[in-house]
């Protein structure tokens, strides 16, 4: 490898694209250097379920040939990791569960297909909370992922393998999914950039469903510009997803540099109440001052039903989960119990053995809130409160362009710290869940450290205003270098 190609792992996706275009290094060299890092660090972090070294090297060689023929695809040769919730044809897709330990999808998820067609090279599949149900990566059948900033701590979840791999500079970018905060919270806890687009902006086809009215695919990267690059490829209408939205895809990179003059930033008073770690709050306030210095104006907004967002979520999401998970029956695919005497026993034991404790709890919570006699009191009531929460956001966006606040209440917590009480774990997502309930785009960007652990700034916008979120985060990143900080052990 040429000397100019040293330290490729420290470069962002955008910088790598420039280097490849300039012929500074080849896709093959880049792929080899990152595969070597994955081989060296992947196991200790437990960030990967599967590494696809052989197919990655082949794809890299193909990308180099295309470039030599002056016909490179837009992401030609750029490495990526897919959360193991995205189906990949011919490569095992486990969703972090024993249930799908041997599952090999016959097709690619639309997100995977679009990124591959654009030339991105898949290096592997990242570890995750089982079926994306968790906020710490501790519910994975394959064991917890470790946080590159402190191996005793959680990288967040459910996209914890993706966030850890990007933070440890094993890969410049990864896909993730976000149902209640599963991209943004792990991004905050690992010092990376997490983007959850508007509901329906990115296809859910081939993305194993958890809660279909909340799930959305997005990215974990090291800069807002990188997220803009990937979203431009991932977004768009897909006839194979019945909730995909048929809206034109703008050029997300075009307006990144625009100064924030005139931008109205909303601050929610309740976000800074007792639940938020004081040092964390100070970092977020400092970040708001940076936006202000770039021309934004800050004003208070009210989200009166904010306190009800977590309980609303923990009715709606388990209800949808319980319906979605009914497809796992031990008959068509997935784990099957041995020696069942009848069909009922086959269903119950296959599911009892195949699912972990948190997934079972959510299925049962969902079954309960949907069952006869309880449906109106829980599920219907939750969908009404959800409407109120969405209306709060809509009212706020009449006065402001983005709402800014903390992504998570604390920096990364110790593994094992919150596993005894599900409610403590659920409250981790208090600031992020509202965007899912209302279908809004949201982003987390690193905004400093508390006790040497990264914390995130959370930005939410009205539907389809991803470009504004990316512009806001990019400007912030021009004035700060928190997103450039690398954990010492991985520099």
């Amino acid at each position: 490898m040429s000397p100019s190609a040293a330290n490729l792992h420290l470069r962002t996706l955008t910088e790598l694209a420039q280097g490849l275009a300039a012929g500074e290094f080849t896709a093959r060299e880049l792929t080899e250097s990152l595969l070597a890092r994955i081989a060296a660090h992947g196991e200790a972090l437990n960030a990967f379920v599967t590494v696809t070294a052989d197919s990655a090297l082949e794809a890299a060689a193909a990308a180099d040939r295309a470039r030599a023929a002056q016909n490179p695809a837009p992401l030609a040769g750029l490495p990526i990791v897919h959360k193991d919730i995205f189906c990949t044809a011919g490569v095992r897709t486990t969703c972090g569960s024993r249930m799908l330990d041997n599952f090999v999808s016959p097709y690619d998820a639309t997100v995977v297909e679009k990124l591959s067609r654009a030339g991105a090279i898949m290096l592997g599949k990242s570890n995750m909370d089982e079926f994306a149900m968790g906020s710490s990566n501790e519910t994975s059948y394959y064991g917890p992922v470790r946080n590159p900033w402190d191996a005793a701590r959680s990288p967040g979840g459910s996209s914890g393998g993706s966030s850890a791999a990007v933070a440890a500079r094993l890969v410049p970018a990864a896909t993730g999914t976000d149902t209640g905060g599963s991209i943004r919270q792990p991004a905050a806890l690992t010092g990376t950039v997490g983007l959850k687009p508007t509901y329906g902006r990115v296809s859910r086809h081939g993305m194993i469903a958890f809660a279909s009215s909340l799930d959305q695919a997005g990215t974990i990267t090291r800069s807002a510009a990188d997220a803009a690059l990937l979203l431009g490829v991932m977004a768009g209408f897909d006839a194979r997803d019945s909730t995909s939205v048929d809206e034109p895809v703008p050029d997300y990179r075009a307006g990144l540099d625009k100064p924030l003059a005139g931008l109205r930033v909303g601050i929610v008073r309740q976000h800074f109440d007792a639940g938020l770690d004081a040092a964390n709050a100070a970092r977020v306030r400092a970040a708001l001052a940076v936006l202000e210095a770039d021309g934004a104006t800050l004003r208070e907004v009210d989200l009166p039903h904010l306190d009800l967002s977590v309980p609303t979520y923990y009715v709606v999401a388990p209800a949808e989960c319980s319906s979605n998970m009914s497809r796992f029956d031990g008959v068509r695919f997935g784990h099957r119990a041995e020696g069942a005497k009848d069909l009922m026993e086959l269903y119950c034991r296959s599911r009892g053995e195949g699912f972990g404790a948190e997934v079972k709890r959510r299925i049962m919570t969902g079954t309960y809130v949907l069952s006869a006699g309880y449906y109106d009191a829980y599920y219907l009531q939750a969908q009404k409160v959800r409407q109120l929460i969405a209306a709060d956001f809509q009212a706020a966006f009449a006065d402001v362009d983005v709402i800014a606040g903390p992504t998570a209440p604390t920096p990364a917590f110790l593994l094992g710290d919150k596993t005894d009480d599900p409610i403590t774990m659920y409250l981790n997502d208090i600031y992020t869940i509202g965007a899912n309930l209302a279908g809004l785009p949201a982003l987390s960007t690193p905004c400093g450290f508390v006790n040497r652990l990264p914390v995130g700034l959370h930005l939410v916008a009205a539907p389809f205003r991803e470009a504004l979120l990316l512009n806001c985060a990019h400007r912030y990143q021009q004035h700060t270098d928190w997103h450039r900080q690398c954990p010492e052990a991985y520099s």
Binding site: P106, M344, R361, I363, S371, V385, Q387, I423
Partner: protein, 95 residues
């Protein structure tokens, strides 16, 4: 509110989940805590509020009723735990 062991067993049966004996106590405890937590929704005033059906008020899109896939049986059944002659095998249903 607290759920009884019998209630939890009934929910598990509805959900087609077998619970090991050593799991049951923990499930009763944690499920009770979750239900108590979501019970706070009951006090929210929601008179005349229409329950949300879709976050962006989109209606369900329909497609033409046309065959778009070929015969994929073998590829799809490659993931099945037990098949024979293109059929899925299950324990005997009728004697």
């Amino acid at each position: 509110m607290s759920l009884s062991k019998e209630q939890v067993q009934h929910i598990a049966t509805l959900a087609r989940l077998s619970l090991a004996d050593d799991e049951a106590g923990d499930v009763v405890d944690k499920l009770s805590r979750i239900v108590a937590f979501v019970d706070q929704l009951k006090t929210a005033p929601t008179d005349n509020v229409i329950p949300m059906a879709h976050p962006l008020n989109q209606t369900q899109r329909l497609r033409a009723d046309e065959v778009t896939e070929g015969d994929e049986r073998e590829r799809i059944q490659a993931n099945a735990p037990a098949v024979s002659d293109g059929l899925y095998l299950v324990p005997k249903v009728l004697e």
